[in-house]
Symmetry: C2
Subunit: 421 residues, 2 copies
């Protein structure tokens, strides 16, 4: 019994500290398109919204089969059905290098949930994780809610967004509980070489820090590029790889993600595996219908489906790059994979705007073209373009961006540009 | 950079403190059935495992339609699609009493996730929530991971498992951030009367404590009983009702749950609604295919489907009660709804066994009948029987239980039994 006269119900600090920077920024932006021009949203990281990219029929019919079988209505184990986990284990194994078993896989409600489990299983309040800048803001959202700190290591635009390795190593301290590596990258579209991944792993190994590999864009690389799962390049460093069907299979709404535990030296068996299993019980796994379809989805989706998807995006990347590269004041950086391109904005050349946010806002109000400002990824003086938009709209958007920049650009006299990085 | 010679990767305290008591108990139990008798599991709270209870075709075909429409592959908002939320708002509204809108609903990955969001949005580490004993152990699992304390208020078997109201009120202190009320109840199968719910709400109101109503067994009541949503009986107390498709629609694996925010006096608008929205972004919502089907599932499932399901369970409850009531040493308590029956064990009459756990273990080894021990629900000297098992197996199980008890029961001389409660 207590003595209270009035209602005063507060949210927990956990809830208050959990916030999504993109949402915060976008909600406070001036988004008023030019009524004379239809809006082109190059901002939405959902490949399915434009209708040009649709999942393979193999995938959708696999779920129909799972439903009609009547076998997937009941509870699965909180880490997922054995068959489904086995199928993911096979998918994530690198033959002769890292062979996984069902017990190494935890199915989750999307890659977001996989990242949530990994971060919360490894880190205590007050400890820190290292995350990329520019980078996907969810890492920070997940960590800060639980009072886990995030420290940023830079990606270097002049080196195709490779990690600043010296900085990475300098950031590691006694309280560093994981390095988050995102390859291929959102927002950069970069794909790391074998050598570069090895160099990152050497830093992890020297300092005995486990890696959380955000590999949701696995195999999502353009022609001539190669994708290397981080875990395939280390004998020593324990790697929790977070992946899922979201991007490559074009079904983000289905919420099928996973953690693949690569741990050849049994470093994680002592506590972390159990920790992940325990945490998975909080929400008891992901949708069983999709689990039931998982073996067919991973085993039977035709190769051409992936080839077609990537071709569309690569064509858009080439188109976008060549168009934007000739626009005064903009400096696009060609991606090697994923679905995004970062474009540097020479802010000195646009004295009309104080920063990338205002640049982007004005581009909406004059041209009805919406790109996310670099600020969303903690990276000023850039904007991110999504490459899953149909070619016709990309082309039109590039023309409008060119018009906008030509109108506002004023070459800097002494030739000194303050382009970040 | 840091100086570490060896790998030492620990799990976080959050992960270590998150554990599921049922799992812990069951994993450490001696479960060795009698090889001469086929196992009958009266332990599994999944209504779908025996094949006698299957979802309505309306439900499964609604999902097939959603898939084939191609409209539900992309991301939904983290709180769910507006149409789906609107359908739940309608389902959860009590006409003329509490009308909800889409904004009052947050879709979640099962009711477990709904409970997780409510508890973590309302409570800080060090604060406490009041939970029922006997009760569903997930409340404690969710709270203790985040160092939120749980305090138990008793349910009284002699009063059909009504809440001990004096105890409830006495437990409330300055740090109490919510009262969790589960009606209809797992494990008791009890259904509270209107008057009793009002009495609980008066305690909440006097002490200004919000209620988390676990109403996953909504409308799941036997003939002659009435189900009252908590929120329909208060003008004042803010109620977060957690529900979902899991039980009533017989599809636990699909992971569709929700929070319905009943808050007539806008007490939760200041912070808690935002908090719930923020936390929902950690895993970005529930499966969109099921969301797409939700309006049809809630609007078109034929009434007979529910009537049939409940009839089977009620028949089983009657059968079980009459059989077990005549078994020496056992004292079943007739449920009014949900899918469970609690059975008191007069431990004094079974000197062969030290506690309910051993009683249950021996019943498995001699009779291959598996019931969960009361210990799983923090309630010794009881066992829980699941009523969704096909009648034939229930009948057989009761016979074997009778044989077991008759063999082991030794009437207590002085007539004093130490039956808990
Ligand atoms: C780098 C990165 N990681 C994780 C995610 C989240 O994936 P999911 O939708 O499977 O939760 C995204 C989604 O945009 C992403 O870009
Ligand atoms: C009382 C109670 N609440 C919540 C749940 C969890 O429901 P869901 O499977 O939708 O997460 C259960 C499941 O058994 C339950 O019995």
């Amino acid at each position: 019994m207590r003595d209270r006269k009035s209602w005063n119900v507060n949210a927990s600090t956990y809830a208050k500290n959990t916030f999504n920077p993109i949402r915060n920024i976008v909600e406070n932006m001036q988004i008023v398109p030019n009524p004379e021009k239809p809006m082109i949203a190059l901002s939405i990281g959902d490949p399915t919204v434009f209708g040009n990219l649709v999942p393979s029929e193999t995938i959708t019919e696999a779920v129909v089969t799972a439903i009609r079988s009547g076998k997937y209505n009941g509870y699965g184990p909180s880490t997922g059905f054995a068959d489904a986990r086995q199928a993911v284990a096979k998918y994530c194994s690198v033959p002769d290098v890292t062979e996984l078993e069902a017990k190494d896989i935890i199915l989750c409600s999307g890659c977001s949930c996989a990242l949530d489990l990994c971060i919360t299983a490894l880190c205590c309040p007050g400890q820190n994780i290292l995350v990329p800048r520019p980078g996907f803001p969810l890492y920070r959202t997940l960590a800060e809610g639980l009072s886990i700190k995030t420290k940023y290591y830079n990606l270097l635009p002049e080196k195709n967004w490779e990690v600043d390795l010296e900085m990475l190593e300098a950031l590691i301290d006694e309280e560093t509980s994981a390095i988050v590596v995102n390859n291929p990258s959102n927002p950069c579209g970069s794909v790391f070489s074998k050598e570069h991944i090895k160099a990152i792993l050497e830093v992890a190994s020297r300092n005995k820090v486990p890696v959380i590999a955000d590999e949701i864009y696995d195999h999502f690389v353009f022609s001539g590029e190669e994708y290397h799962p981080m875990a395939s390049l280390t004998q020593e460093v324990p790697v929790l790889s977070c992946g899922g069907l979201t991007k490559r299979y074009l079904i983000p709404g289905w919420r099928m993600g996973w953690i693949a535990i690569y741990d050849r030296n049994d470093i994680l068996s002592k506590e972390v595996r159990n920790g992940l299993n325990s945490l998975s019980q909080r929400i008891i796994g992901s949708n069983t219908l999709v689990q039931g379809a998982l073996p067919a989805i991973l085993g039977e989706t035709p190769k051409e489906f992936f080839v077609d998807t990537i071709k569309q995006i690569e064509d858009n990347a080439n188109l976008c790059f060549s168009q934007i590269d000739s626009i005064p004041g903009l400096r696009p950086i060609m991606p090697q994979g994923a679905m995004y391109m970062m474009v540097g904005i020479e802010m000195d050349g646009f004295p009309d705007f104080v920063n990338d946010l205002e640049f982007v806002e004005k581009m909406i109000s004059e041209e009805s073209v919406f790109c996310l400002p670099g600020k969303c990824f903690d990276y000023p003086n850039y904007m991110r373009i999504v490459l899953t938009v149909p070619e016709k709209q990309i082309r039109e958007a590039c023309e409008r961006i060119a018009g906008f920049c030509t109108r506002h650009y004023q070459p800097v006299k002494n030739g000194e540009h303050s382009l970040n990085g």
